[in-house]
């Protein structure tokens, strides 16, 4: 798909600029130009497709659909639903409350809350453009597993009393007018959403790729492998802890991870790190503090953290 583009960048760097293929600068520059454009194109494409599909989903109907489901089935469906919902404060919190109002069990609601940031379209688009579809599929698969089991465990712990707001149950559904859109409007909506997201993250991507290009061109492989490639027991938990404060820059972190893995970092540690970046975020915890008791938030973080660490170990062992 991008072979022509690669040929063009080859020509640009090695012929037009006259740089030598073996030079550090040439390698770094080639990597930077090629990767930035490749990621931009894929990012815009994938986010556009996801947001277009999203215009066909009616939240009220999804909620009504989840309402009567048994617990475990509910966990599975809510996790899958988390893939297609965007994750920002405008959507996730009202949705969370809306689910609880519809008497959907807390555990099922949490499955959704774990899955939404973990499997967000930005993470998926970045993974796809950097690692290809196999790793992306594995990431989504394990992400679903963590959200299904995590939500199920939280549901079993009976933590309803830790919700700070007074939830008034509602019966019936859909009194709100659902605006019907024609196709042209859907495309317009998806496009404007895509541009919104792109404006928010393009700088992080450029920064991430720039640092990645530097590592790619200048830092020797054995140096990286020495520090991140070992299967020391602490590699995975350390990756997770490092990932927590980095939520906003997830898009910038991923190009770095790509370079590190290509230079010998173990994929399990890398995946744990990326999952921690997307699923465990301090800003998110701050928002949730308005609705949930600290005890529940801590439990939530602990369960997800353990899940991600286990996945990291599994990966490091099997790959």
């Amino acid at each position: 798909m991008f072979s022509y583009w690669e040929k063009f960048v080859d020509y640009l760097v090695y012929n037009l600029m006259g740089l030598d293929k073996t030079e550090h600068l040439a390698q770094a520059l080639h990597f930077f130009i090629f990767d930035t454009i490749k990621i931009f194109i894929l990012l815009i494409g994938i986010i556009f497709v996801v947001s277009y599909l999203r215009t066909w989903f009616n939240l009220e109907k999804v909620r009504a659909y989840l309402q009567g489901k048994s617990e475990f089935t509910g966990n599975i469906l809510a996790s899958i639903f988390g893939i297609i919902t965007p994750f920002c404060t405008c959507s996730a919190i009202p949705l969370f409350l809306g689910f609880l109002q519809a008497r959907i069990p807390l555990g099922v609601t949490f499955s959704f809350l774990i899955s939404a940031p973990l499997n967000n379209e930005i993470a998926i688009a970045m993974l796809f453009s950097l690692f290809g579809w196999k790793i992306t599929a594995i990431y989504i698969g394990f992400g679903l597993l963590v959200s299904i089991i995590g939500g199920f465990v939280i549901g079993k712990m009976k933590m309803e009393k830790y919700i700070l707001l007074d939830i008034q149950p509602i019966d019936g559904c859909c009194e709100n007018p659902s605006i019907t859109m024609n196709n042209k409007e859907r495309v317009k909506e998806a496009f404007s959403y895509t541009m919104d997201i792109f404006k928010k993250i393009y700088l992080y991507v450029v920064l991430g790729v720039a640092v990645g290009a530097f590592i790619h061109g200048y830092i020797p492989t054995d140096f990286i492998a020495k520090y991140t490639g070992g299967d020391a027991w602490y590699a995975v938990p350390l990756s997770v802890v490092l990932g927590i404060p980095m939520y906003a820059s997830a898009a910038g972190v991923m190009p770095l991870v790509e370079v590190l893995t290509s230079k010998g970092m173990l994929l399990g540690s890398a995946l744990s790190f990326m999952m921690a970046v997307t699923a465990l975020s301090l800003p998110e915890a701050m928002i949730l503090k308005r609705l949930l008791h600290t005890k529940l938030i801590a439990t939530f973080f602990l369960i997800i953290g353990s899940g991600i660490i286990i996945i990291g170990y599994i990966f490091n062992t099997i790959l």
Partner: protein
């Protein structure tokens, strides 16, 4: 007329609030515009995605950043 903008304080909610003010000014309407950020109140309208626009207690739009023009059309209907 009482217009409420429901939102948890994200950028879209602020933009909708500004657009609503513009729409009301353009149409020379007499309306009280209020920003609602309290989750408990937002829940009472059982809105599933914000920002939402509520006119005289009736939810008119959810989860969309409407332009001033679109809001004006809504207010007149």
């Amino acid at each position: 007329m009482k217009i409420e903008i429901l939102g948890t304080g994200c950028s879209k909610c602020k933009a909708l609030f500004e657009n609503t003010k513009t729409a009301v000014a353009n149409e020379k309407l007499f309306a009280q515009i209020e920003k609602v950020e309290d989750m408990q109140k937002i829940m009472e309208y059982s809105v599933m995605s914000t920002p939402a626009l509520v006119v005289d207690g009736v939810v008119k739009s959810t989860g969309k950043l409407l332009t001033a023009q679109e809001i004006a059309t809504l207010l007149k209907s």
